[in-house]
Amino acid sequence: MNMATEKSNTRLPSTEDTAQQERFKQIKRTFQSFLQNTLSVVGLLMILTLVFAATFAPFIAPYPDDAGAGVHFDRASQPPSLEHPMGTDTTGRDIFSRVLFGARLSLMMGVIVLSIAISIGVTLGLIAGYIGGKTNSIIMRITDIFLAIPPTLLAMAVVAATGASLFNVMVAIAFSWWSWYARLTQGEVLSIKEEEFIESSQALGSNWLRTTFKEVLPNVLSPITVKATLDMGFVILVGAGLSFLGLGAQPPTPTWGAMIAQGRNYVTTFWWIAVFPGLAISFAVLGFNFIGDGLRDAFDVEVN
């Protein structure tokens, strides 16, 4: 027998408690719970550092020109030192600077990809849910198919067909990522329809806009936030994998994946060329995972 059944909450709701106040209380509790979690705070700091580094890369980087095609054979292949905290690559470029600029690319890619994916996903989910019937079935079948295909492979197929560039990679990954959001949104619309005993979309009528903003979106907000945070990390991973294969932005653009690919040839000699960009990837993904994990716990507190 569970303690939960033993304790009965007899706090009678006072008449002044409105739904609004309840929601504020919930949000406050979520914040508190989130901040109490050490990992979440660490993650938050990590990502803030990353965003800061990415935004101010041109100013922080000691050798900003190295982000492009710099050739300085006099300082090629140097191990990490005070001047070059992450060493230099075979053409003499400072890896630390390149990693900083790579952060820009990764973050930007993540944000753009997810914005596209979430927009498409939520829109399709709303359409499927509201219109219902055959349209719903068709959209959901398509969603299922996309959900079953591993995003890396799908993205690869798209890029292979359209050519390797940063833009194509972003579109490709977004193309494979929207399905989860579509399914979530559609599910929410359907359950709200059930709650209000609305059989046909006509009964919903012109209210659909209000319903969307007042009911559907607030309910999907927390799962989407958690998923999107975690997805930032995974999108960065997938993007890194693709650029490792040479499918992303082309050299000399300093994407983290491409840098690792370069460094792979010198694993036996100049290990730092491959190691540090990967460390950066791990740092970014870890940060997002810490936050996402903490958010998931924090939001769960209400659902308890």
Binding site: M1, I145, L153, A157, G278, I281, S282, V285, L286
Partner: protein, 339 residues
């Protein structure tokens, strides 16, 4: 008896799934943009040559006819020619599949064997230090790109420590054991070649670890949370009230109930890894099918892509079937409830 019924029933249910899958694969294959025939022949090819090759490959027939032709061909073993290697796709795949399967199976074995005790310990010590350590480790495991982990492992264990080999399935100069299953570990034992066995094993360690770390993390966390859910159940209180030993309650009573969702994930991981092991295969120069599949995608090698997708699809269905088998074994309600 009811268990065998259950198995047969599940096997029969798989058949329409396989058919549906084949149709899906076929449809997708014809939908991929780009003109692979033209690509294969090069830009100087004349229109006649393109048409000729298309006719030869049967690409000018109506779609349903193409599907039947294709399906018959697949069953008979004619998987078409690879535009890239100029070999029969089936023989290409057969040559490479065992390497990937051996790697994936070992990866899963390693991941599950470690995930179970760690997950159980984390779950039964919720919010204790064991739980926190497991959580952080899992988060790390899932955050590091597999191909980078592979490279770092190479740097540490091969270059610096010199303990393990760099790439491939066997060292230079070591002959593969006589073919029985095409799995080097099994075949070398069967032939009594212990030296070869050790060599093959050392070559598997790093790739399996790099590939499996994320899966280990995932399964470990899943077991942990399932154990926590299970702990609230009445039969656990009962078992404890009867004075049963703690480890017996954890492993025999709780884990058996808690393991089912992990089993599903493990099954899915098998199919997933078959197709996604390519980055690790590339880093370790592993002669596997995943790598072949990726090269096919990049080259837009139609038949090869289809071939790999078929194998991965069948892999998913088989893994699902095995998972169902195990469900039925672990949980009597499943095989009894089916009647």
């Amino acid at each position: 008896m009811s268990y065998i019924n259950y198995l047969l029933r599940r096997a029969l249910q798989s058949i329409p799934v396989v058919f549906g899958l084949s149709m899906l694969i076929f449809v997708i294959s014809r939908v991929i943009p780009g003109d692979p025939v033209r690509l294969a022949l090069g830009p100087e090819a004349s229109e006649q040559q393109v048409q000729a090759l298309k006719a030869e490959m049967g690409l000018d027939q109506p779609i349903p006819v193409q599907y039947i032709d294709w399906l018959i061909g697949v069953v008979q073993g004619d998987w078409g020619m690879s535009l890239r290697t100029n070999n029969n796709v089936l023989s290409d795949i057969v040559a490479r599949l065992p390497a990937t399967i051996e790697l994936v199976v070992l990866t899963l074995v390693f991941a599950v064997l470690l995930a179970i005790p760690f997950g159980v310990i984390a779950g039964t010590n919720k919010d204790g230090w064991q739980d926190h350590v497991s959580r952080i480790t899992a988060l790390f495991g899932v955050s590091m790109p597999r191909f980078w982990v592979a490279i770092v492992l190479q740097i540490i264990f091969v270059v610096t420590l010199g303990l393990l080999p760099l790439s491939g399935r066997l060292s230079d100069g070591v002959e593969p054991p006589p073919d029985v299953t095409h799995f080097y570990l099994v075949d070398s034992l069967l032939a009594g070649q212990f030296g070869t066995f050790v060599d093959a094993a050392t070559h598997l360690v790093l790739p399996a670890f790099a590939l499996g770390l994320a899966t280990l993390a995932q399964v470990m966390r899943l077991i942990r949370s399932d154990m926590i859910d299970e702990q609230r159940k009445d039969y656990v209180l009962a078992a404890q009230a009867y004075g049963l030993p703690n480890n017996l309650v954890e492993y025999k009573y709780m884990l058996r109930n808690a393991f089912t969702s992990s089993l599903t994930v493990i099954g899915l991981s098998f199919g997933f890894l078959l197709g996604n092991a390519f980055l690790v295969e590339i880093v370790f120069a592993w002669p596997g099918m995943a790598r072949y599949g990726v090269e096919a995608i990049l080259y837009q090698d139609f038949n090869a892509i289809i071939g790999v997708v078929i194998v991965v699809g069948v892999g998913f269905v088989s893994a699902n079937f095995i998972v169902d088998l195990l469900y039925g074994y672990l949980d009597p309600r499943v095989r009894l409830g089916d009647q």
